[in-house]
């Protein structure tokens, strides 16, 4: 199997998963109890208003017809029209996308630049304080809810110290607190993975050989140990990045960061149902695509991974 074949295969598979996800959302919305038209209209709405909204959304037509209509427009890149803004949903999403991307990349970069040195230090001295710190961070970081750590950071740096802005995105300074909040969530896990990877490659045969040859420790560390630890670290970092692009909803809301996540929450409060559905479908699509790209990048970088992935496909 060639790389091109594999790419085409994965894209086709991803597309089917996307259709499945769409069908699932579609069925959830329409078959489970609860009426979206009634939700949009609010509790005091008249029955005829609800009917009008139902007709406007096409919810009064037969199920298969709704599915085909929505699917057809989805394939044309048309995610519907926002009720609140009156603009195409895709336009709203694309306007917010750069903010979500920036936040995700800055947060991940911050996490990597703290976690990797920490993990390497911990691996070199497994019984040291640094190593214990890594273990504690791995549990605590992933356990504290981001909406709370975010608020605590606001309290310390915006309220008490008055150093950093607490919400919005007007200046580069605004990205510091939200990305630190996300990085704190990620850093422990990443440092633990780094520690494990470095410890494993420290005891591997080629490192022992290099030491026996008399290479200096620093040379071994950079040339042999770090290089071989890179794959597990990159794996976790890219999985985290993918999750951030779809899952920074809460953090974006805490800091009023104008990304896709806060767009979703806003749309829910304004009962902007087409916008919410559009954002969800867009995010799921992006999430699937990122996973495929990650797999293909591995296949490019590591022949062993290539073997496993192609066998699975």
């Amino acid at each position: 199997m060639s790389l091109l074949n594999y790419t085409v295969y994965r894209l086709a598979q991803g597309f089917i998963t996307f259709l499945g996800a769409f069908l699932l959302i579609f069925l959830f919305v329409r078959l489970l109890p609860g009426d979206p038209a009634r939700l949009i209209a609010g509790p005091e709405a008249l029955e005829e208003d609800i009917q009008r909204i139902r007709a406007h959304l096409g919810l009064d037509r037969p199920l298969y017809e709704q599915f085909i209509t929505y699917m057809a427009s989805l394939l044309r890149g048309d995610l519907g029209t926002s009720i609140k803004y009156g603009t195409p949903v895709l336009e709203e999403i694309l306007a917010r996308l750069p903010y979500t991307l920036a936040l995700a990349f800055v947060a991940e970069a911050l996490a990597v630049s703290v976690a990797v040195p920490l993990g390497v230090l911990a691996a070199l001295k497994p019984r040291s304080l640094v190593s214990q710190l890594v273990s504690v961070l791995a549990v605590v970081g992933a356990s504290l809810p981001v909406f709370w750590t975010g608020l605590m950071l606001i309290f310390i740096f915006s309220v008490e110290l008055r150093l950093l802005p607490s919400s919005g995105a007007e200046s580069p300074k605004h990205i510091i607190l939200p990305s630190a909040t996300l990085a704190f969530f990620l850093v422990g896990n990443l440092a633990r993975i780094t520690r494990a990877a470095v410890m494993e490659s420290l005891s591997s045969n080629h490192v022992v050989t290099a030491r026996a040859k008399g290479l200096s420790f620093n040379k071994i560390l950079v040339r042999h140990v770090l290089r071989n630890s890179l794959i597990p670290i990159l794996t976790v970092a890219s999985v985290q990045l993918g999750a951030l692009l779809g899952g920074a909803v809460v953090t974006e809301t805490v800091f009023a960061w104008p990304g896709i996540g806060s767009l979703l929450i806003d749309s829910l409060f304004f009962r902007d149902y087409p916008l919410a559905q559009g954002v969800i479908m867009f995010t799921v699509g992006a999430f699937i695509l990122i996973n495929i790209v990650t797999d293909i990048l591995y296949a490019l970088v590591d022949p062993r991974v290539r073997e496993i992935l192609w066998k699975a496909a």
Binding site: S143, F147, V159, A243, V250, L264, L268, I280
Partner: protein, 293 residues
């Protein structure tokens, strides 16, 4: 014969307990988890004040002798609200994970044991569910069903389920090739009986560990949805929604946000540490390794 099996089972349980007991941090986590779970039914009985009783004259008071953790933006006693809130935050999480784990385990059993069409069907649906980021799936479900306890349970149960399907299916595939499964088949037992009596008990360890970790995740999701205003609607004292409604007063009365956050954080940390402890105790290989170092 059966007596010997019972004895062996008891011995194994005792071994696991011994291994677990040696881990003092995990033991402490177990105590915290036990307290939090006991709070779910009795929280409202031991609360010093009425969690709904508001009085603006005593709003936003810092901790004092009368109100140990202070009062919130409407003058309600924060400690009482947290004690009663366990019923919602922790209770909802327990119910959702029990439902999600049971359904996922059942589907994983069928998928792994029956194979064929069942397997393909379940796996394809599962792939689709796994394509959603967990919190997004939960938000989507709650959003389209309206806020409330039952849609929250549905959301957390559905978004945690796919992991069990995959986990149990993989474990079943390892178990079905064992001799005792072949023997049970030769005895002519029905496939449901084999699945439930002989396969299921042997794939339970990873499910229990996963469910413990998932309790942490469930509390994280339940409180995040509460914080976002999509969970249990106010004035119900759900821990996350207490932070959500209190965050406006972060500048003047930070204790309104700090204490519920501490309750959530400590509970989630306890479940995660307990999960680590259980994993080490239940997996004899990991246990041997731990002894070695």
């Amino acid at each position: 014969m059966t007596k010997r099996i019972k004895e062996a089972k008891r011995k194994r349980l005792l071994e696991v307990w011994e291994a677990f007991k040696a881990n003092k941090v995990a033991l402490a986590a177990l105590c915290i988890v036990a307290i939090v779970i006991i709070l779910t039914p009795i929280g409202s009985r031991i609360a010093p004040h009425d969690p709904y009783d508001f009085n603006l004259a005593r709003a936003r008071q810092p901790p004092s002798g009368e109100h140990v953790l202070g009062t919130d933006e409407l003058g309600r006693d924060i400690l009482s609200r947290l004690l009663v809130g366990a019923k919602y935050t922790v209770g909802i999480s327990v119910v959702s994970i029990v439902i999600g784990a049971s359904l996922g385990t059942l589907l994983g059993l069928i998928s792994g044991y029956k194979g064929g069409l069942w397997d393909s069907l379940i796996q394809r649906v599962n792939d689709v569910l796994l394509a959603f980021p967990t919190i997004l799936l939960a938000i989507a479900l709650v959003a389209f069903k309206g806020p409330g306890v039952s849609s929250l349970i549905l959301a957390i149960a559905v978004s945690s389920m796919p992991v069990y399907v995959r986990l149990v299916r993989a474990a079943v595939l390892q178990v079905v090739v064992e001799d005792y499964v072949a023997a049970a088949k030769l005895l002519g037992l029905s496939s449901w009986r084999i699945m439930l009596r002989h396969v299921l008990p042997n794939v339970m360890s990873p499910v229990i560990v996963q469910a413990t970790y998932h309790m942490g995740l469930a509390i994280l999701i339940a409180s995040a949805l509460g914080f976002l205003g999509l969970g249990v609607p106010p004035p119900t004292p759900e821990w996350g929604s207490m932070i959500g409604t209190g965050k406006v007063y972060l500048f003047s009365a930070p204790h309104i946000v700090v204490f519920p956050g501490l309750f959530i954080s400590v509970t989630i940390i306890a479940f995660n540490v307990l999960g680590d402890g259980l994993r080490d105790a239940l997996d004899p290989r990991a246990r041997a390794m731990l002894r070695r170092f």
